[in-house]
C-alpha cells in the first residue's frame, strides 16, 4: 500500500486529494510555487515543498523539480490531479523510470490516447462509434456525393487546410450537396490555394455526455454512469450533472458498454473519462478519452457513493476493484456549478484578489470543494476556478431547487465571481426543462 503521496497540483483538487489521503491514513506532501505559500493545500498537507517561482512553467509544470521533491520527501507516489502534468506522458514515464507510482494510467496509454488519430483508430477497431468521415481526401463533387451518402446526412465539407470557417459548408440533404461542395472548394482555392476537401458527418446540436470509468490492473473495467456537461462556454464546462436528463436506461447501457469497450481496447488502468457527443437521434460519437480525474467527479461520487480519489489510490496500489458493474447504481440526481473568480459582465475577465470575507452554504446534500478561505489572496497566475458547489437530491427537479438555494447563499467578498450568472442559468426555463445542448450558453441571455 502507498504510504506517502506527493500531490503535484494546487487549488481545490490538491485539497480534495489531501483530504482523501488523510482519511486513508496516507501521509501527504504538497508542492507549491512561490505564489502559493499561503495556499490551503500548502497548509493542509503534512509536508510542503516549494518547487519554484509563480509561473506554472517554472513550478507546477517543472517535472525535474517535482521528481526531486518526491525523492527528497520520501513519497512513493504522485497524484497529478487535473491540468498541469496530469496527462503528460513524458512525466508519467519519468515517474516510471524513478520507481515512483504515478496515480493514473501508464505513460504508454497516455501517449496513445493523446494522439487523436491513434485514439480514433483504436476506438473504431473496438466498435466504438466515431464521427464518420472520409478517410481519403475528396476532390470532385461526384466522389463527394458517394462519401456523403456513406457517412450520413447532414454532412460538413471541410477544406484540408481550412481554418476560421473558410472553405467549410454544411449540406443537410443530397440535393444541397453539389452546390455546397463547389462553394466550399472554391472558397478553399481562394483562401488556401488548395482544393483538397474532407467530408464528415455533421453532428447537430449535440450534448456533451461523458462516462466515468474505473479500471484496475487486472483487466476489470466498470463505468460509473454518465455526466452531462453540455453547459459550457468556449469549451469550458460550467455546470455538470449526473445522470443526464437525455439518457434512457437503454441508451445509458449502450453508451456505458461502449465506454467500457473503449477503455479495454486502450488497455486503460485507473480512473478515466470517455467523452461522447450525443445527437438528439440517440446517435453518439467518441470524442476523446481524458486520462485523469475530472473537475466534475463529485457529481459521480454523489450518485454512486464511490469516492473516486480513494479508488484511484487503491488501483494504483495494485488493489482489485471491489465492485462489479452490477453493484453500480445511480441514485438520485446531482448537479455541480463551478464558481470562478471572474466577472461575467466584463467578458468573464479574471478577478484575482483577496477574499475579504466569505460564507459558503452547507446542509444535507450540499458539498463544497474549495481552496479559498477568509483573508486568502487568489494569485493571478493560475486557473480562475475557486470553488465547486455540488448538490444531491432525489431527482433533478429537487436538485435544481437545492442548487438555487445554495447558490443564493454563497457570499464571497473582495473578488468578482460568476455566482449570479450560474444562478440565472439555474432559473432558465430551457435549462430547467433539460432542453440543452453544447450551444446553450451561446444563446443564453444573462440578465442580472
Amino acid at each position: 500500500m502507498i504510504k506517502k503521496i506527493l500531490i503535484a497540483n494546487r487549488g481545490e483538487i490538491a485539497v480534495r486529494i489531501i483530504r482523501a489521503c488523510r482519511e486513508m491514513g496516507i501521509e501527504t506532501v504538497a508542492v507549491y510555487s512561490e505564489a502559493d505559500k499561503e495556499a490551503l493545500h500548502t497548509k493542509l498537507a503534512d509536508e510542503a515543498v516549494c518547487i519554484g517561482p509563480a509561473p506554472s512553467a517554472d513550478s507546477y509544470l517543472s517535472m525535474e523539480s517535482i521528481i526531486s521533491a518526491t525523492i527528497v520527501s520520501g513519497a512513493d507516489a504522485i497524484h497529478p490531479g487535473f491540468g498541469f502534468l496530469s496527462e503528460n506522458s513524458k512525466f508519467a514515464a519519468l515517474c516510471e523510470q524513478c520507481s515512483i507510482t504515478f496515480i493514473g494510467p501508464s505513460a504508454k496509454v497516455i501517449e496513445s490516447l493523446g494522439n487523436k488519430q491513434e485514439a480514433r483508430n483504436t476506438m473504431t477497431a473496438a466498435g466504438v462509434p466515431v464521427i464518420p468521415g472520409s478517410k481519403e481526401p475528396v476532390y470532385t463533387p461526384q466522389d463527394g456525393e458517394e462519401t456523403a451518402a456513406s457517412v450520413g446526412y447532414p454532412v460538413i465539407i471541410k477544406a484540408a487546410l481550412g481554418g476560421g470557417g473558410k472553405g467549410m459548408r454544411v449540406a443537410h440533404t443530397p440535393e444541397e450537396f453539389v452546390t455546397a461542395f463547389q462553394t466550399a472548394q472554391k472558397e478553399a482555392q481562394m483562401a488556401f490555394g488548395d482544393q483538397t476537401m474532407y467530408i464528415e458527418h455533421f453532428v447537430q446540436h449535440p450534448r456533451h455526455i461523458e462516462f466515468q470509468i474505473l479500471a484496475d490492473q487486472f483487466g476489470n473495467v466498470i463505468h460509473l454512469g454518465e455526466r452531462d456537461c453540455s453547459i459550457q462556454r468556449n469549451h469550458q464546462k460550467m455546470i455538470e450533472e449526473s445522470p443526464s436528463a437525455a439518457l434512457s436506461e437503454e441508451l445509458r447501457k449502450k453508451m456505458g458498454e461502449a465506454a467500457v469497450r473503449a477503455a479495454k481496447a486502450a488497455h486503460y488502468t485507473n480512473a478515466g473519462t470517455i467523452e461522447f457527443l450525443l445527437e438528439k437521434s440517440g446517435n453518439f460519437y467518441f470524442m476523446e478519452m481524458n486520462t485523469r480525474i475530472q473537475v466534475e467527479h463529485p457529481v459521480t461520487e454523489w450518485v454512486t457513493g464511490i469516492d473516486l480519489i480513494k479508488a484511484q489510490i487503491r488501483i494504483a496500489s495494485g488493489e482489485k476493484l471491489s465492485y462489479e458493474q452490477k453493484d453500480v447504481k445511480l441514485t438520485g440526481h446531482s448537479i455541480e456549478c463551478r464558481i470562478n473568480a471572474e466577472n461575467p459582465e466584463k467578458g468573464f475577465l479574471p478577478s484575482p484578489g483577496t477574499v475579504r470575507d466569505m460564507h459558503l452554504p452547507g446542509g444535507k446534500g450540499i458539498r463544497i470543494d474549495s481552496a479559498i478561505y477568509s483573508g486568502y489572496t487568489i494569485p493571478p497566475y493560475y486557473d480562475s476556478m475557486v470553488a465547486k458547489l455540488s448538490v444531491w437530491a432525489k431527482n433533478r427537479k429537487e436538485a435544481i431547487r437545492k442548487m438555487r438555494s445554495a447558490l443564493g447563499e454563497v457570499i464571497i467578498e473582495g473578488i468578482d465571481t460568476n455566482v449570479d450568472y450560474q444562478y440565472a442559468i439555474l432559473n432558465n426555463p430551457d435549462y430547467v426543462a433539460g432542453n440543452v445542448d453544447i450551444e446553450f450558453i451561446e444563446g443564453f441571455e444573462y440578465k442580472k
Partner: protein
C-alpha cells in the same frame, strides 16, 4: 486568517510491517536521468539537454560540446573525414607524470588529443574544420594540438578549402612549456598563408577561449563568431582580479562584451550555427553568378533638365528646402536601402580594435545573386534609434570597421557599395582620443587603392570629412534631396559670418545640392525622389538605383585592378 500549523497531521494508519510490498525498492532517480545545470543549478532531464543542442532548458545556459558531437551537429550526414587522427605529441620538458596523464585522458575520453580536424560538408559546402574538446586538459594547445591545426590549415590552403576552427581552450599547455608557446606562432603563420591564398577562415569562439589560443588562431578569422555568453579573453578573469586587486564588472570578457568592444562579428545561437556557417561559406563560393544585362538610363541626371533643377514639385524650393528635406525625420535611412536593394544581408560587427560603432552598419549581401560588401552610415528611425546610432555620426571605430570590411571585400574580390548619410563625423572628446582625424585620413588613403569597384551613394546628409571617408569611390551618386558639403550650412555661416542663424543664406551660396554638385562634376548621377520621400514611397527610387547599380557593376567589374585604381585616382586628381 493565518493557517500556519492549524491543521492536525495525518497519522499513518498503514501498518508499517503489514503493507504489501510492490516488488520494487523505493523511488530513486536512475543514474544519468537527471543532471544539474552548472550555470543555474537547476535539475534538468539529461535527454532534454542532449536533444536541445546541449542548452539548459531552464536558464538557456550553454554546456560544452564534445568535439565529435559538435561535428555531428554541423556536418552533412556521413560527410566528415578525419585527418591526422592518431597524431600525438611528446613530452618536451620530460614533465613528470605527463605521459601517464595523457594516457589516462585518452582512455577516458576516447580522444588522442585535444583537437579533432578533418574535412566536412555543411549544407553541401566543403570546408576544413578543427574542433577543440575541452575534456582533454581543457583543450590546451601543446605540440600535438598546434601541429594538427597547422596541418589542417596547410591542407586547406593546398586544396583551396575554407577553414572553420571551433576554439574552446584554456590556452597554451603548461606541461609542454616553450614548445606550447611556439604553437601560437606556428598556427598564426599557417593561417597567414591560407589568407594570402585568398581563402576564407571562420573562427568560432566557444566557452572558454583564453590565453594563447585567443592570442593566436582564434582571433585571426576573416569572420569571427561566438556562442552566447562564452568566456573569451587573453588573461583569465581570476588572474586579472588578483593582479589589479579589483572586482571585475559583470559580463566582463563574455561574448557580448567582445561584441561591444569590436572583436567579434556576431553572436550566434547554437541552433542557428549550421545555417549561419553555411550562409557565410556560400557567400564566399565562386559560383560565377552573372548580372543580368541592364541598359540603364542614358540620362545621367534623372530629374535634372540641364538648365537647372526642374523640380519634381520643388519648383520654388531653394537650396535650404533641400537641406531640410535631407534631414526629414521620416526620410529612408541606410538600413532601408540595404533591405530594399540586397538579399541575404549578413551584418558583421566591430573594428577589431576598440568597439562596434552603431552609426555604421556593414556586412556581406547579395545583389542579384552576386556577393557584395555593403556599408551604410545609419541614422535611426525614431528618437530611441537615433540615440543608439548617435544620430548617424560615426566614431573612429565606425570608420575602422568600414575599412576592415572594405579590405575584406578586396581579399574576396567583392565590389563595395557605400551609403552616405551623416551630419558629420562625431565631434567629441572620445572621438578625438581615439583619433577621428586619423581614422578618416586612413580611409581616404586606403580607399583610393582598393582593388575592387567602389560605389558611394549619398542618400541624405553628406557631412564633410565624415561623409568623404566613405566616398572615395569610382562613382559617387546622389539622391535628389541629399546634400554634400564641406560643412553644415550652420557651421559655414558661423565661421564665415559669425552668425549661425544665417544658415539659409549659407545653403544658397555653398552649392551643396545634388543639382549643384552634378554641375560641378563632383557626382556622376542624380536620382529623382517622389514629392514626399519616405519608406513607403521609395519604391521607384529603389528601382532606379537597382538598375543603375547593375550597370555600374557590369562596367567596373570588367576593369582590371590597375584600370580601377587608375580611374579612381584620376577621378579625384582632376578636382
Amino acid at each position: 486568517m493565518k493557517l500556519d500549523n492549524m491543521f492536525k497531521k495525518t497519522n499513518s494508519s498503514v501498518d508499517k510491517k503489514g503493507y504489501i510490498t510492490l516488488g520494487r525498492s523505493g523511488p530513486m532517480v536512475p543514474e544519468g536521468l537527471l543532471r544539474k545545470c552548472n550555470k543555474c543549478g537547476a535539475a534538468i532531464i539529461a535527454e532534454d539537454v542532449r536533444r536541445d543542442n546541449y542548452i539548459c532548458p531552464k536558464c538557456g545556459g550553454y554546456f560544452r560540446v564534445h568535439a565529435y558531437r559538435r561535428i555531428e551537429m554541423l556536418a552533412d550526414d556521413g560527410s566528415f573525414q578525419e585527418w591526422d587522427s592518431s597524431l600525438q605529441g611528446g613530452n618536451p620538458l620530460e614533465y613528470r607524470g605527463y605521459e601517464e596523464k595523457l594516457e589516462g585522458l585518452r582512455e577516458k575520453t576516447g580522444l588522442t588529443e585535444a583537437v579533432v580536424t578533418g574535412r566536412m560538408l555543411i549544407n553541401g559546402s566543403a570546408a576544413a574544420v578543427g574542433v577543440c574538446d575541452g575534456r582533454f586538459l581543457m583543450a590546451s594547445m601543446g605540440e600535438a594540438v598546434g601541429e594538427k591545426i597547422t596541418r589542417a590549415v596547410e591542407r586547406a590552403t593546398e586544396e583551396g578549402l575554407p577553414l572553420i576552427l571551433f576554439a574552446c581552450s584554456g590556452g597554451a599547455r603548461m606541461q609542454e612549456g616553450i614548445m606550447s608557446l611556439m604553437q601560437m606562432a606556428k598556427t598564426a603563420a599557417a593561417i597567414k598563408r591560407h589568407s594570402d591564398a585568398g581563402l576564407l577562415y571562420i573562427s568560432v569562439l566557444t566557452d572558454p577561449t583564453t590565453g594563447g589560443v585567443t592570442a593566436s588562431f582564434a582571433m585571426l578569422g576573416d569572420v569571427i563568431l561566438a556562442e552566447p555568453k562564452a568566456l573569451i579573453g587573453f588573461a583569465g578573469p581570476r588572474v586579472i582580479e588578483q593582479t589589479i586587486r579589483q572586482k571585475l564588472p559583470k559580463g566582463f570578457q563574455r561574448s557580448e562584451f567582445l561584441l561591444e568592444h569590436g572583436f567579434i562579428d556576431g553572436i550566434i545561437r547554437r541552433e542557428n550555427m549550421k545555417e549561419t556557417l553555411s550562409g557565410v561559406l556560400k557567400l564566399h563560393e565562386k559560383d560565377n553568378v552573372v548580372l543580368p544585362e541592364e541598359d540603364g538610363s542614358s540620362d545621367r541626371k534623372q530629374g535634372y533638365n540641364g538648365d537647372g533643377w526642374d523640380g519634381y514639385g520643388l519648383e520654388d524650393r531653394d537650396a535650404w528646402a533641400h537641406v531640410e528635406a535631407s534631414r526629414q525625420a521620416d526620410r529612408p535611412v541606410g538600413s532601408d536601402y540595404i533591405e530594399g536593394l540586397f538579399t541575404e544581408f549578413t551584418e558583421l560587427h566591430g573594428d577589431r580594435h576598440y568597439g562596434d560603432d552603431k552609426a555604421i552598419i556593414g556586412g556581406i549581401a547579395r545583389f542579384h545573386g552576386i556577393p557584395v560588401t555593403v556599408i551604410a552610415q545609419a541614422k535611426g528611425t525614431d528618437t530611441k534609434g537615433n540615440i543608439e546610432r548617435n544620430f548617424g555620426m560615426p566614431s573612429p571605430e565606425g570608420y575602422r570597421k568600414a575599412l576592415r570590411l572594405m579590405k575584406q571585400a578586396e581579399k574576396f574580390s567583392r565590389p563595395v557599395i557605400c551609403f552616405v548619410d551623416t551630419p558629420g563625423a562625431f565631434c567629441g572628446l572620445e572621438a578625438e582620443e581615439r583619433g577621428q582625424g586619423e581614422a578618416i585620413a586612413r580611409n581616404l588613403y586606403e580607399m583610393s587603392g582598393l582593388k575592387v569597384p567602389v560605389l558611394s551613394v549619398v542618400i541624405g546628409e553628406g557631412g564633410s570629412g565624415g561623409a568623404l571617408a566613405m566616398a572615395v569611390a569610382d562613382e559617387v551618386w546622389m539622391l535628389e534631396n541629399s546634400i554634400y558639403s564641406v560643412l553644415s550650412p550652420e557651421g559655414f555661416a558661423s565661421i564665415l559670418w559669425k552668425d549661425s542663424s544665417k544658415a539659409k543664406e549659407a545653403a544658397r551660396v555653398m552649392k551643396l545640392t545634388a543639382g549643384d554638385l552634378y554641375d560641378l562634376g563632383i557626382v556622376e548621377r542624380v536620382f529623382a525622389e517622389p514629392d514626399s520621400y519616405t519608406r513607403e514611397t521609395m519604391g521607384q527610387t529603389l528601382d532606379a538605383l537597382d538598375r543603375e547599380i547593375s550597370v555600374f557593376l557590369h562596367k567596373y567589374c570588367s576593369l582590371s585592378e590597375k584600370e580601377l585604381t587608375e580611374h579612381r585616382y584620376s577621378r579625384f586628381r582632376r578636382m
